[in-house]
């Protein structure tokens, strides 16, 4: 699994209220919600994002609410991967469950600049900054989680489990 695209960069403690403001949560429709992704801190995000782009942020990305709508809108906008120094735990879990690739890598999150062209190999955890030529290696997921992601999310993996029983 790979993604390649331009980097959009954010700071620490990006919370779920700015990823998708609660005032829009009167619908579960991901496409409709995605129109408002990041708008409270970056009004141009939705306009500028392209399929495969990489979001890079600091500590505690996705803190706050348990709304699964948050990773869902980031994915629906076309973002190929989120790289952060750390993720808030519910966001981390939700991203896995809905199949949004995320990687924790302090060094990459610190050094990669906005607008850099970045390629990510999600299977190996390798992050290539094609603009600077530098390579980073993120901690790969434990096998348990990898199997969930490979199945396409938690529910698909549960269904597979049922079939294998």
């Amino acid at each position: 699994m790979n993604t390649q695209g331009k980097v959009v960069k954010y700071l620490d403690n990006v919370d779920t209220d700015v990823i998708i403001p609660a005032r829009y949560l009167n619908t579960p429709n991901a496409k409709e919600l995605a129109l408002h992704c990041m708008e409270d801190i970056d009004a141009d995000f939705v306009k500028n994002v392209h399929a495969g782009d990489v979001m890079v942020a600091g500590w505690n990305f996705g803190c706050g609410s348990s709304r699964e709508h948050a990773p869902l809108v980031i994915k629906t906008c076309g973002t190929g991967c989120v790289i952060a120094k750390s993720f808030a735990r519910i966001f981390y879990r939700n991203a896995i469950n809905i199949g949004l690739p995320i990687l924790e890598c302090e060094e990459a999150a610190e050094e990669i600049a906005a607008q850099d062209e970045v390629k990510v190999d999600f299977d190996t955890g390798e992050i290539f900054d094609l603009t600077t030529g530098k390579t980073y290696r993120a901690q790969p997921f434990p096998p348990f989680i990898q199997s969930i992601i490979k199945s396409g999310g938690l529910l698909a993996s549960l269904k597979e489990g049922t079939r294998n029983e």
Binding site: D17, I90, N94
Partner: protein
């Protein structure tokens, strides 16, 4: 090496004698919870996965609380999705308008959760029930869907920080000041992925409402859960209330903690978290120049009986300052009814406040008290992120009911003094 209280509950629910921090386990769930925002997404997933039925109709809890009574047509559609799902699966704990309350005030009150439980809820403040000595944590809608279908969830066993509480709180402070002080100390990711285990001689002096409030905001420090030991205060609260027999777990004497932090309750002062993070805390006394346009007293953090009592004691016979909108939201219908019976509802109206039926409403910028650009609110809620209660250029200051009510009377952030 022994286990923490959280680890013991998880081990028991995973059918294991022992678990260690970092271990991945599959645990049996006692309760699976969702609300009117997260349940519709879970219902979609549940249907897509072609699950036939819920694992136990008495262990799934659906509470309409965020946008009800329905704030608009779309919210009404979401409520309808929840209602139809609950009806078709004969969910016994379905709480609609008239019966509902803010979920984390409602579930303990109704005795749906109890000591020793393993609970997931598609709401980040599900960590509230740790106050009863349960393991309880927030998840997303997909986890809720899987939990409703299988009665199981995977967890990574958390390590823990021990908070050793001593002394007794000053009378103008409550659980809110304790948890804001702690978040100010350790930061919004200070307990990331970990349990916050509250122990020590000081625990006994904290009421259940204080403990529920403290555990409620464990997530604001990034924690997986917050938990209190079960003592006679807990047992008294649970007596005649809980549907199921409580199971009491205790941490082993040689349990391992990543850190031990001592908190002297007698040294706590009325504390306020300034915009735009709950860790940005200051003593209320230093913020007397901060003018407020709105005061909100309510939410899953502070919409309980003791919170209403604090507001009543401060507002009775007085007037909310000119130019201030004071919105009081009792957490459940039972609390609302109690406010009416005791005459507090009238006292609130006489003071110039408005009283709403239970709702999360303004806490997450839904409705019932949205802020305009440049406006400022002091609220007993739990988050003060950018745009949380309305316009991106509005501000939320988090405080206790004492501080919020005292501020309503002056129009400025005010430390309450008896």
């Amino acid at each position: 090496m022994g286990m923490t209280m959280t680890q013991k509950i998880l081990a028991a629910h995973a059918g294991l004698d022992k678990v260690v921090a970092g271990q991945l386990i599959n645990a049996k769930l006692d309760i699976v919870l969702g609300n009117d925002i997260t349940t519709p997404v879970a219902v979609n997933e549940f249907k897509k996965a072609e699950f036939g039925s819920v694992f136990d109709k008495d262990r799934v809890v659906i509470v309409l609380d965020h946008f009800v009574p329905n704030k608009d047509i779309k919210a009404a559609e979401q409520s309808k999705t929840c209602r139809e799902f609950a009806c078709s699966h004969c969910v016994s704990h379905f709480y609609d308008v008239g019966k509902m309350g803010i979920e984390h005030a409602l579930l303990p009150e109704q005795g749906i959760v109890t000591a020793g439980d393993c609970i997931i809820g598609a709401d980040s403040h599900t960590c509230t029930y740790g106050a009863l000595g349960a393991f309880s944590t927030g998840v997303g809608s997909t986890d809720m869907a899987a939990g409703m279908a299988t009665g199981m969830a995977w967890f990574k066993v958390p390590s823990a920080i021990k908070f050793n509480l001593s002394g007794e709180l000053p009378s103008n402070c409550s659980g809110k000041d304790v948890i804001l002080t702690i978040i100010g100390m350790i930061g919004v990711d200070g307990a990331l992925y970990k349990s916050m285990e509250f122990v020590g001689d000081g625990v006994h002096s904290l009421s259940m409402d204080d403990r529920l409030c403290i555990c409620n905001m464990a997530i604001e420090a990034g924690a997986k859960n917050g938990i209190f030991p079960v003592d006679d205060v807990t047992v008294e609260y649970m007596k005649g209330r809980c549907e199921r027999e409580p199971v009491i777990f205790e941490a082993d004497a040689d349990a391992e903690y990543e850190k031990v932090i001592d908190v002297d309750l007698s040294a706590i002062v009325p504390t306020v978290a300034c915009p735009h993070l709950p860790e940005n805390t200051h003593p209320a006394s230093e913020l007397h120049d901060v003018k407020v346009d709105q005061v909100v007293i309510g939410s899953c953090t502070n919409g309980r009986m003791e919170d209403m009592e604090a507001a009543y004691n401060i507002l009775k016979g007085k007037k909310v300052a000119d130019g201030v909108r004071c919105i009081i939201i009792p957490g459940t219908m039972q609390i609302l009814r109690e406010c009416v019976e005791r005459g507090w509802y009238t006292a609130f109206i006489d003071a110039g406040a408005v009283v709403s039926t239970p709702t999360c409403g303004p806490c997450l910028g839904g409705y019932m008290g949205i802020l305009a650009a440049g406006e400022r609110c002091i609220a007993t809620t739990n988050r003060n992120f950018v745009g949380r209660m309305g316009h991106v250029d509005s501000e939320v200051y988090l405080a206790s009911p004492h501080t919020a009510a005292a501020s309503a009377l002056t129009g400025y952030i005010t430390e309450y003094k008896e």
